[in-house]
Subunit: 311 residues, 2 copies
């Protein structure tokens, strides 16, 4: 009997949620946040990014945070790796999953990692080889993450062809999963369905696929539903809607995990997540993060008492 | 050649948006708001409610506001009528459309209008007769609006059977259109599709149908997309997401017209609305309404410059 939930949610607040804040959250608070997320039943956590601390000071303590996160044995602990060096550090740290990010938009990719898409794909191939050199039980899951898959704050629309080309590059280089990220939150439901179907057509139906959505323009949960209708069952989200992108001025955060869980469960799709415990993570964030960064409809309205029995 | 937009939007801020505020907005500002909405290209405006001023003081000036609204000849000007007396006043005022509201939840209906559903349906039949007694060109369009069609803050879930029973009552009494209202914003996309299909099954495919959605729990635009997929093309929305319900504590407002228009146009569905002009209505509201009541992703993020050519 399969006890896995209908929808798999990866909590990204500890990484995507924190990376653009102008305050450094103390290591202890990051660890407390991750423990609280795990305690709520979330089965995958993006715990940080193995970028140089000189580039993103927030992740100067990523080693310590990931080490703490990995004490939670039942949860998949992942991290973003922007290059080979980062992947080597992540491997040494023992992460269970790696998210290697390349933008479908050449301009965004250059701004983000100062390399061309092809140079990044070459780095991805090296990372794949490094992982393959590990003993099988120690090989982390490798996600090829396509940033700006639904639009770019610099280029505007990103073509389906550009997304599919990058997906093909990831797939040929041995990605275990493809992630499609609406980095700046410009996606629409029709577009999400269209791109997901085109990508599936490229990779074949067996490739794992996740969506990483932002709620910049209000269509975040509508895009989730579009993803569900295109048979995606893996989504990234951030508690309290933390997050943003340094190259997307004004962009709101990731879709709100609390609102996502509530909607999915009300739609009859299990997530394996305890909503009350998830809601309680806000207290940890509120001690370190400005109120203006903390969003979420459910936090504002409260879980309606009359709906409690189904939540 | 049919120049009508793909999606018809009725702007409800002047009525649903204002009815729960604790400030009385001056008559001049209401008229200015309606003129600005009309100038943006909105083709239907819910201009107010013909309730006694003793019950909702905000609408003490509804006659004057509707008289001003009706100077905009190209726009359908409607009003809520809660009873026969209200309908007679609306008829005398010369409205183009009437929204007669009955809750599918008996408890909510009693709280809202202090009558049973059956008593309200009897009043609706009288209103139908009053309208039929007018000369044909002066007969307003009569919408039978089902409140709490997707959940109730008092009863919780509302059964599909209760919604369909009320819809049948409206249809048999001669409603020109059925409105399904997620008064408290508890609806989910799967539920919206299910209820819309059940209602269509009840009325037959020729009955006009509109959705009135609130964004209490974050699924507002997702519910719009569900409605689109169930072939609904008529939606209520409020600029700056104004609105709420006195019997739904903590409830957020209506879906945000600006965000709705932006998403629909990006999806390739025309609305006939000029988004910049629509955005400008916030200035009028901001002079009279507290900032906390004004929401909207697009207002927060700004219309992305790179997407301007498609917006």
């Amino acid at each position: 009997m399969d006890n896995s939930p209908d929808v798999h949610i990866c909590e990204v607040a500890p990484r995507d949620g924190l990376q653009n804040l102008d305050v450094i959250v103390p290591t202890g608070a990051k660890c407390e946040l991750i423990s609280a997320i795990v305690a709520a039943g979330v089965s995958e956590v993006d715990a940080g990014s193995f970028v140089p601390a000189t580039v993103v000071p927030q992740f100067g303590d990523v080693g310590a945070v990931v080490a703490h996160a990995l004490t939670h044995k039942s949860t998949t602990i992942g991290a973003v790796v922007p290059n080979v060096k980062g992947a080597e550090r992540a491997l040494a740290a023992g992460v269970n999953s790696m998210y290697f990010v390349i933008s479908a938009s050449e301009t965004h990719n250059r701004a983000n990692v100062r390399r061309t898409i092809e140079e990044q794909l070459e780095a991805f191939r090296v990372v794949r080889a490094r992982i393959n050199a590990q003993k099988a039980p120690e090989r982390p899951h490798l996600v090829g993450a396509v940033a700006t898959a639904f639009g770019c704050s610099m280029e505007g629309d990103v073509s389906e062809a550009a997304v599919c080309r990058l997906v093909q590059g990831f797939a040929e280089a041995g990605a275990d999963e493809i992630g499609l990220a609406d980095t700046v939150g410009y996606g629409t439901p029709t577009q999400v369905k269209r791109i997901v179907r085109a990508v599936r057509n490229e990779t074949g139906p067996k490739m794992m696929l996740r969506l990483h959505l932002h709620d910049t323009l209000g269509a975040g949960l509508a895009n989730v539903v579009a993803g569900l209708e295109a048979d995606v069952r893996r989504f990234d989200a951030a508690v309290s809607g933390l997050g943003g992108c340094p190259f997307a001025p004004g962009a709101r955060g990731n879709i709100v995990t609390e609102d996502l869980v509530f909607m999915l469960e009300r739609m009859g799709l299990s997530t394996g997540i305890d909503l009350d415990r998830l809601m309680a993570t806000r207290e940890i964030l509120a001690r370190h993060v400005e109120q203006k960064h903390l969003t979420g409809h459910l936090h504002e309205a409260g879980i309606p008492r009359v709906l409690r029995r189904v939540a």
